[in-house]
């Protein structure tokens, strides 16, 4: 059982949760994730450790409410307990002084990006950040990212903040300006990572992506998370989650992510009905 110390909405449908987990705070390295089980009958949800405070014994998770499990987790209150957390999982990011690192965060992907970017900065890299979102309200960790960045750009699909367009437009712009780029780090929806990787491949820029395949155990014993990387099957939970973006079969990843779509919708519908029953006056959870 893990105590929830704080829970807060930091953007529409995006929650930040601070959890009392001293051992995990001590052992975690940038790039690693945990599996969270919300309730006894809950599934194991992979979430990146977005931040930690080893002195206070805390870890921070930032998650988007996209389906039953994350919505239910978002309903938890400070003072309550999560059923279980296991970690830290996955290989830590390889961090060194590469020179100039472009950090691209799409949507909630900024949460896993932040601890890596922070470490990259500490290693002396020149950090150029590009954050993308659908509109200005959906950005998270803007200030935190800006603080550690040497250059900071934003793009929105609707033009309400920063460049009107996609993160790849801003990246193209950077490349065109002739800036020397040593590494591109992209974390976000699979489709975004795919197009970033396609673009950087043209210019031969080393590109690292962090994959969010469907997982069950997160410890390498089931293979649910498998992806093709350079034509070889890899397990994201133990071989990753970071891979060379130029080698990943993103189309396969996206198909696999949609494997349970119908069942996920069924579970979500059931949850929303149950929530409606609890709050007959059309409470704020009816989405």
């Amino acid at each position: 059982m893990y105590l929830i110390k704080e829970i807060k909405e930091i953007a529409p449908k995006i929650k930040k949760m601070v959890i009392d987990a001293p051992l995990l705070a001590k052992k975690h390295k940038a790039g690693q994730f945990v599996m969270v089980i919300n309730t006894e009958k809950g599934e194991r949800i992979p979430l990146t450790i977005a931040d930690k405070n080893p002195e206070k014994g805390e870890i921070t998770l930032i998650f988007q409410e996209v389906g039953k499990s994350t919505i239910e987790m978002g309903l938890r209150k400070a003072g309550e307990h999560l059923f279980d957390i296991v970690g830290p999982l996955g290989k830590p990011t390889h961090i060194e002084n590469y020179g100039t690192v472009v950090c691209i965060g799409g949507g909630v992907g900024t949460a896993p990006l932040y601890p890596i970017a922070k470490k990259m900065k500490e290693e002396g890299n020149y950090i150029i950040t590009i954050l993308g979102a659908r509109n200005k309200d959906l950005f998270i960790l803007e200030k935190e990212m800006e603080d550690i960045s040497d250059e900071f750009y934003q793009t929105t699909d609707d033009g309400t903040k920063g460049r009107h367009g996609l993160v790849t437009d801003e990246l193209q712009n950077l490349i065109d300006s002739g800036k020397k780029i040593d590494l591109v780090l992209a974390i976000g929806p699979a489709i975004m990572m795919k197009f970033v990787s396609l673009l950087t491949k043209k210019y031969n820029l080393p590109t690292m992506v962090s994959l969010n395949s469907i997982m069950v155990d997160g410890t390498g014993m089931c293979g649910a998370c498998r992806v093709s990387v350079g034509g070889v099957t890899k397990f994201v939970c133990v071989d990753g989650p970071e891979f060379d973006g130029h080698q990943v079969d993103f189309d396969e990843l996206m198909k696999r992510q949609a494997m349970y779509k119908d069942l996920e919708e069924k579970a979500l519908k059931k949850l929303l009905e149950e929530l409606k029953e609890k709050e007959p006056c059309g409470g704020h959870h009816a989405r």
């Binding site: 051992l23 052992k27 089980i37 009958k41 809950g42 599934e43 194991r44 039953k68 499990s69 059923f83 279980d84 957390i85 296991v86 970690g87 830290p88 999982l89 069950v216 155990d217 410890t219 390498g220 014993m221 089931c222 293979g223 649910a224 498998r226 992806v227 093709s228 099957t233 133990v238 396969e252 198909k255 696999r256 949609a258 494997m259 349970y260 069942l263 996920e264 069924k266 579970a267 059931k270």
Partner: protein, 472 residues
């Protein structure tokens, strides 16, 4: 002590065990075999000849005094039977259900030469169940605390057994288990209809009563390394019982299509995560109308029978050798057939074919014939040229074997490993690293519950000696 004269009745037919009817059980998760009543158990016990030189004992990997416990049952001393078993086997309720008796004790039972062997497994199960149901509390006989601390990595049968033996010797034992529930394959792999989870829970609870501490969701290699356990966390010895949990894939085209599972994933979703209760439980599982399981072992039988229970309309086992080579327990094969599983033998998949949306639509297979025996002594399957055919299915489950999880070996390179990352031990259970011992599937590759337990017990004896003498 035996009081009456034992008059065996070997000619009586082997006493059948009451079972759920195939038509009913193929759609529910309740246990298939219901167990002997005391009357049936006594009847079966009296078939035993009480041999002077009992061959059955040689067939048992842990050398249980088989005629001894059978006599206890025959004479109605069921509690004695239980304690006789416990002297050798710490999990008789489990082994009575899952041991491949037909290849062990029952294979060499003298009676089997002329008649059917004594139903040793069923009697073992009876004695264990009788004790559990009697509500009696077990007398553990713990020795006084020694002040020594042992870490056990993994809570499968090897780890549980090692923990129990060391606790009896008075050592402080802490089990670290990666998953959120203890039991290893017994909880995430073997389904409820073959091994009720309640039994594993009772055994784990017994360990807790003996003072064993169990830390779940604790992955060694991630949370702590073995060096940290020994140097910083105050453990005097470590036992590695991490099993063979890494699923193998075949390396054929189409394995990453939607609708393809490893047996481990499929069984973990259903058993550990309770996907059969979806959406009451959150973890989903996809099951189509036509399900094919590739492989012929216990894992394959468990997967296909689970698929049936989740509503599959057609259920196939696809296996590249013939019926005689099927590695699964005889009883499981028999049960699977009764439940309507169709065996596509001498058939090997060469590709999994998908539709335009990335879902499985068929298996491309080739027919096989048997050639000369290979290293395993089984006849080698050889593809028949030009025999390729398509076999329409919508779910494929791969049950072609598992290897050791590489995590420990990666983070502790000073522990010597053999081929495929199997940890090397000497005959007493020691690894190449001082203070570190290992047993179970991590040292044998996928084997059996009883072998894992036997090694857990052996290692416990070596650990105890090491803790007392400090000599490596």
């Amino acid at each position: 002590m035996p009081d009456k004269k034992w008059i065996p009745q070997p000619k009586k037919p082997r006493t059948p065990i009451p079972e759920q009817k195939p038509e009913e059980r193929r759609r529910n998760f309740k246990e298939v075999a219901l167990g002997y009543t005391p009357e049936l158990a006594i009847e079966e016990a009296y078939r035993c000849l009480q041999c002077k030189t009992p061959t059955c004992i040689d067939g048992c990997p842990v050398g249980i005094d088989i005629p001894g416990f059978i006599r206890d049952i025959g004479e109605g001393r069921f509690e004695d039977a239980y304690y006789t078993l416990k002297k050798y086997n710490s999990l008789p309720a489990v082994c009575g259900r899952v041991c491949p008796q037909e290849d062990q004790c029952e294979e060499v039972c003298i009676l089997g030469k002329k008649f059917k062997p004594v139903a040793i497994g069923r009697l073992e199960r009876f004695a264990a169940d009788w004790f559990m149901e009697s509500g009696k509390t077990e007398d553990f006989k713990l020795e006084p605390p020694t002040g020594k601390k042992v870490a056990i990595i993994g809570s499968g049968p090897s780890g549980l057994t090692c923990a129990g033996e060391l606790a009896k010797k008075g050592h402080k034992v802490v089990i670290f288990e990666a998953l959120h529930k203890p039991g290893g394959v017994l909880v995430y792999g073997i389904p409820e209809f073959r091994l009720p989870k309640k039994i594993v829970e009772i055994e784990v609870e017994n360990l807790r009563k003996m003072g064993v501490e169990i830390k779940t969701s604790a992955i060694i290699g991630k949370l702590f390394t073995i060096d940290e356990l020994l140097e910083e966390e105050g453990f005097d010895a470590v036992f590695i019982g991490t099993g063979a949990g890494l699923p193998y894939f075949m390396g054929i085209k189409g394995e990453n299509l939607n609708g393809v599972y490893s047996a481990n994933e499929f069984l973990t979703r259903v058993n550990l995560m309770k996907a059969y209760m979806f959406p009451e439980a959150d973890t989903p599982v996809k099951i189509g109308k036509k399900v094919a399981v590739i492989g012929g072992g216990n894992t394959a039988m468990d997967a296909i029978r689970t698929a049936l229970r989740l509503g599959a309309e057609e259920a196939y086992i696809v296996y590249r050798r013939s019926e005689a080579e099927l590695p699964a327990r005889e009883e499981e094969i028999h049960h699977a057939k009764e439940e309507g599983v169709i065996f596509q033998l001498l058939t090997n998949p060469v590709e999994i074919l998908g539709d335009e949306n990335g879902w499985v639509r068929a298996l491309k297979c080739v027919k096989m014939k048997l050639g000369e025996p290979d290293d395993s002594g089984r006849r080698r399957p050889i593809p028949i040229e030009g025999s390729e055919f398509e076999f329409p299915v919508d779910t494929v489950i791969l049950a072609i074997g598992q290897g050791p999880n590489p995590l420990i070996q990666e983070t502790q390179p000073d522990i010597e490993v053999k081929k495929w990352g199997i940890i090397k031990i000497d005959e007493s259970g020691k690894t190449s690293k001082k203070g570190v011992f290992a047993g179970g599937d991590i040292v044998t590759g996928g084997a059996t519950v009883i072998l894992a337990m036997g090694q857990g017990k052996k290692a416990a004896q070596t650990i105890d000696k090491y803790l007392q003498s400090g000599e490596w």
